[in-house]
Symmetry: C2
Subunit: 341 residues, 2 copies
DNA sequence: CTGTTAGCGCATTCAA
DNA sequence: TTGAATGCGCTAACAG
């Protein structure tokens, strides 16, 4: 049977309240009693029951993350890996744990939100990929439930952490331009995804500023789709001399396409991706990539959420932007120096 | 303020017990009362408090996973991604959630186990990578705490799901032999890791059975280490004609090494990895890999754990082995057919 | 400094 | 069929 404070109290010949005080580190306890209680706790291998504590304190020390993905699509999703690992990392030093959930469709998503929040399973929530006018957000606001959004809630009163995808697009583009590339194509994701559209905007700005002609190609997410789209581009008229690709995964597809057409990287084709992930080390000479500092974003998001949970209010500034930076590698900078065109 | 069963009861003019019964779907409630209660619950947007329910029922509907890794090493760990996503996937249809934790060293590992188990934060635990004579396991057994191990606990009374790494090693080796390779080297991880050592065993058996000379090279985990070890091997005396590599990541390192030495894959060098991960599609022509069916393992582990939690005892057979299978791709099978030597 | 008491919100036994 | 009463294990206000 499980040993409770009452058991300890009986053995130590004190009241259960005293046991509780000892546990809380209350100074106002006679040292001799304190030691006795502690000794018996150790002897009896006592551990407080977090369930009871949760009920009493009205908090669970759990924070929730709910991801919506098609069935089985989590394994290969680098965003998922970065997100969860970042959260767990950031939580490691805190008395909080991560409660991870996963839904495949909108209906069950709402159900899970009910289950996690309103049932008080977690103390707060990290939201990602909010869609425009997200119902979840309204519910959370109405119920004054602590939450933070990674992304753009389009509402300055809501706590959020974001990167600046427009700037990221600019940075990548300007880097390629500075290396002498001119016929730079942006290989984007499907239209309608904010992070993709924003990067495209930055790209277009930079191109126009440099007096160059922007050219955007949309394709599905993923390695294969990007490879095929790149091949079509290489084989078509007006082959680009550089490509800015939505993410490292797709950029790797472009890299594969270049290899299969025997185009030299970076001399015949410059490639820049986004995210600065492990994949960048998997191409010969490395893949240049714009880092969005997802890791930092996650850390900040966690810190902000815990702040809100503990202070009971949204701390200002509600919205924080994490800067991006470019990691230059072989795919955009020949060992022989800047490309001359 | 939060609405409770007592609130509902007061409004509906019934006792709190009746509200509880309605919630539980108890048949022995007058339909008219039932409807009234349900209506008011909906009106008042009532949700039961899982904390109170947990305390009362002595269960949290949470299962725990604790991973031990060096700081920040989670992001790029494909095992972590497969594991967590598999668990969350498997849990999606059940009334359970995943509580994910993470520690960097042994001391905090034990602390977290205390915190999660003995404090009853979770109903059960999934353990991975148990070391020989794992203390955690003894504690869990003593406290009759529900848990299941992914790996080999070397104890037939403990619930565990495992793959057969020895067979996996054999399969990979026999495949290479059947393709005409003879000077096959096994690039293994550091010594002392069971999954690595077992695969080596299978490799050695298969080589000896075929009358070939086994040759095992140990190196650190990771892409770079494997690449460097492979380069050393290629540059040294008696260059291999095929390599069996501990995991896909390292196999990709071998693949990079081969490219930088201008060795044709698969004609001059066959490569086979393990895990059949996404990386296998990133090499030109694909990387042949032995699938350990980690996904299936995880699903089975979750099912087994829930079984134990709900039945209160370890179900037989305690130990289950998930079969492995090889996915043949370009790195071991030339489009021109079987390699002739 | 310590013990008594009162809930936290819920499920459940026991009476009615 | 329903309600009153009890307790899960803990913290905290209050009294002594």
């Amino acid at each position: 049977m499980r040993v409770t404070q009452a058991d300890i109290a009986k053995i130590a010949n004190v009241s259960q309240a005293t046991v509780s005080r000892v546990l809380a580190g209350d100074d106002h306890v006679e040292p001799i009693l304190r030691d006795r209680v502690l000794r018996i706790m150790r002897e009896k291998n006592y551990r407080p029951d977090v369930r009871a504590r949760s009920l009493r304190l009205q908090q669970t020390n759990l924070i929730g993350l709910v991801l919506k993905r098609p069935r089985g699509a989590l394994v290969d999703d680098p965003f998922f890996a970065a997100l969860t690992s970042g959260i767990v990392d950031a939580l490691a030093a805190k008395p909080y744990h991560l409660c991870l959930d996963y839904v495949t469709d909108q209906a069950s998503q709402e159900h899970v939100y009910d289950e996690m929040l309103r049932s008080r399973r977690v103390d707060g929530l990290i939201l990602v990929e909010p869609t425009a006018r997200d119902e979840r957000v309204e519910l959370l606001q109405r119920d004054k439930f602590p939450f933070v959004i990674i992304g753009n809630p389009h509402n300055d009163e809501i706590a959020s952490i974001d990167n600046d995808n427009v700037v990221a697009g600019r940075i990548g583009t300007e880097h390629l331009i500075s290396r002498g590339y001119r016929k730079i194509v942006f290989l984007a994701g499907p239209e309608g995804f904010v992070f993709s559209d924003d990067r495209v905007d930055g790209y277009v700005q930079a191109m126009v500023d440099a007096g160059l002609q922007p050219r955007v190609v949309h394709c599905a997410f993923g390695l294969e789709a990007a490879r095929d789209a790149s091949l079509a581009l290489f084989d078509g008229p007006d082959c680009p001399d550089a490509m800015l690709v939505l993410d490292d995964f797709m950029a790797y597809g472009t890299y594969m396409a270049a290899r299969s057409r025997y185009m030299e990287v970076p001399d015949e084709l410059g490639i820049v991706g986004f995210n600065d992930s492990l994949l960048c080390r998997m191409a010969e000479g490395g893949l240049t990539s714009v880092s969005l500092n997802l890791d930092l974003m996650v850390r900040r998001a966690v810190a902000k959420l815990l702040d809100i949970i503990e202070s009971g209010q949204v701390t200002t500034p509600a919205r924080e932007i994490v800067p991006c930076a470019i990691s230059v590698r072989g795919s955009s900078s020949s060992a022989r120096g800047v490309v001359q065109k």
